[in-house]
């Protein structure tokens, strides 16, 4: 009736008039898109924070401060510590504990320290990589899901066409338009998910490299200290 209203609703009209499977596909894709954007933003924030904390910790560590004081500081403010600081804390705690036990060789102490650091490293890496698999799944699967919805919608549009003798474009056009919305939604969900996934795996790889090299360097430092002390 009101031309303005009907135009504004035309998109929703198409979605509401679509067949049930197509609507379900659209709903699924909307959910996937919402979740993937949510994870994209979560990862964005957490990775930024991890990078910032790592930079700060490296500056402090290589700035030549007292390792004991640093350990105390990190252990006190555990909530705010970054990934690398937690690795450092776990390694140093293990090192101190092992040093207190008598009759342990230097190799055993350093190996134990390294194992403790590796365990923390794995855990941190795992938490950094959480949700990334979801992004990968959405990125690779949602175009197919959208395509499925489109194929289904076009099938129904053509089935309706078969009952009519004189086929005109006007009889298929709305069905195809509403079916194509499913593909559009699938792509809308997939593209950011793929971009986010690639970007974040790259960032996490670089962070992991930095942590690994820190672990090696820190075990070297601890070994040097231990030999100096003994």
């Amino acid at each position: 009736m009101n031309p303005d209203l009907s135009q504004d609703l035309s998109l929703f009209h198409l979605i509401l008039n679509a067949s049930l499977p197509v609507q379900l596909v659209m709903l699924l894709l909307l959910g996937a898109s919402l979740m993937s954007w949510w994870f994209i933003f979560i990862k964005l924030f957490s990775l930024k924070r991890a990078l910032r904390e790592t930079d700060r910790f490296e500056r402090e560590f290589w700035g030549g401060g007292d390792i004991n004081a640093m350990y105390k500081e990190v252990a006190a403010g555990r909530g705010e510590a970054g990934e690398m600081a937690r690795i450092f804390e776990a390694g140093f705690r293990e090192f101190v504990k092992l040093r207190q036990q008598p009759g342990l060789s230097l190799n055993v102490i350093v190996d134990g320290t390294r194992r403790a650091m590796r365990a923390t490293y794995q855990r941190e890496l795992d938490s950094l990589e959480s949700h990334l698999s979801f992004l990968a799944t959405v990125g690779s699967v949602s175009p197919y899901v959208g395509l499925f919805g489109t194929v289904w919608g076009i099938m129904i549009a053509f089935m309706g066409l078969s009952s009519v003798a004189q086929a005109t474009l006007a009889q298929v056009a709305p069905g195809i338009a509403e079916a194509l919305i499913a593909t559009a939604m699938g792509l809308f969900a997939a593209i950011p998910a793929v971009v986010g996934y690639n970007r974040y795996t790259h960032d996490i790889d670089r962070l992991a490299n930095r942590m690994e090299s820190f672990m090696e360097e820190f075990s070297n430092i601890l070994q040097r200290q231990a030999t100096k002390a003994s």
């Binding site: 998109l11 949510w38 994209i40 933003f41 004189q166 809308f188």
Partner: protein, 288 residues
């Protein structure tokens, strides 16, 4: 260990909420873009729709006819008011002509008077002449007054005439308006019914056209005329070809198409339905 496993979760909830809000925001923006994009595309045919609606109902056509009709009704009113200023405008001209007349008369009478006076002077004294002059002046005055009265009477008569004329005009206009309105409503009704009938004729032929599978060997644009008997619900009772196209296969196809499209769409109005219900003469052409 437990603590370090808990740590990642300590810092999350706040940023999680922000992330959720941002994700929602992205989707809202996308939906808005889509809505505006789609409406941009569909806005072009819409004005055409609006134009059609404005053109269809006759009442707006009849209404514009009224204002011009009522406009003349309104103008006499200012005319009514105008007579008041008009006397002021009109009065000066009448005195002018009488003035000339008066002068002429004056001259004549003066001449006469002079002659009389001359005679009187000859006969009577000059004092009489003076009196007579006064008398003539009085006469002149009387004449002027009479003339003025005549003019005024004329004016009032004219005014009355005008008022009467305008009233008559108004009455005529009102009559004409009433006639127009009647004609408009009648013609509106007719055109409405005709429009509905035409609309449904098109609907029916579109439906039949959709259900007709034309034979392959059909050449040209032959016309088939069928007599279709319909129930009030629109269901087809019988179909008979009254005017064949010459192509039996095509006739057959049209008859089958009519049977296939039963029930036919029928208007809800009784007047409009009368054109279809007992039997409908249906003309079919392959191309239109």
């Amino acid at each position: 260990m437990n603590i370090s496993a808990d740590v990642p979760f300590v810092s999350r909830p706040g940023s999680n909420l922000i992330a959720g809000a941002l994700a929602l925001g992205v989707h809202v923006v996308f939906v808005l873009l889509l809505v505006f994009g789609v409406s941009w595309q569909t806005q072009h045919p819409a004005p055409v729709m609006v134009d059609l609606w404005e053109a269809l109902p006759p009442p707006p056509v009849a209404k514009p006819a009224r204002p011009p009709a009522s406009a003349p009704v309104k103008t006499p009113e200012p005319v009514k008011v105008k007579p008041a200023p008009r006397p002021a405008v009109d009065e000066p001209p009448p005195p002018k002509t009488p003035d000339i007349a008066l002068e002429k008369k004056k001259a004549e009478s003066e001449r006469q008077k002079k002659l009389q006076a001359m005679q009187a002077v000859e006969e009577k004294a000059r004092a009489d002449a003076a009196r007579k002059a006064q008398e003539t002046q009085l006469a002149e005055r009387k004449k002027r007054e009479l003339l003025r009265q005549m003019e005024e009477e004329d004016l009032t008569r004219r005014m009355a005439d005008e008022v009467a004329a305008s009233e008559a005009r108004q009455a005529k206009l009102a009559e004409a308006q009433a006639k127009l309105a009647e004609a408009a409503t009648a013609s509106k009704r007719q055109t409405e019914v005709a429009g509905v009938v035409g609309q449904y004729r098109d609907l029916i032929s579109a439906k039949v056209r959709g259900n007709t599978r034309l034979p392959d060997n059909l050449a040209g644009n032959p016309q088939v005329r069928c007599l279709v008997k319909l129930l009030p619900t629109g269901e087809v009772q019988s179909v008979r070809v009254t005017q064949s196209s010459g192509n039996a296969a095509y006739d057959e196809a049209v008859v089958r198409g009519i049977w296939k499209s039963s029930p036919l769409p029928l208007p809800g109005e009784r007047d409009a339905r009368a054109a279809f219900v007992p039997e409908l003469s249906f003309v079919h052409r392959p191309k239109e």
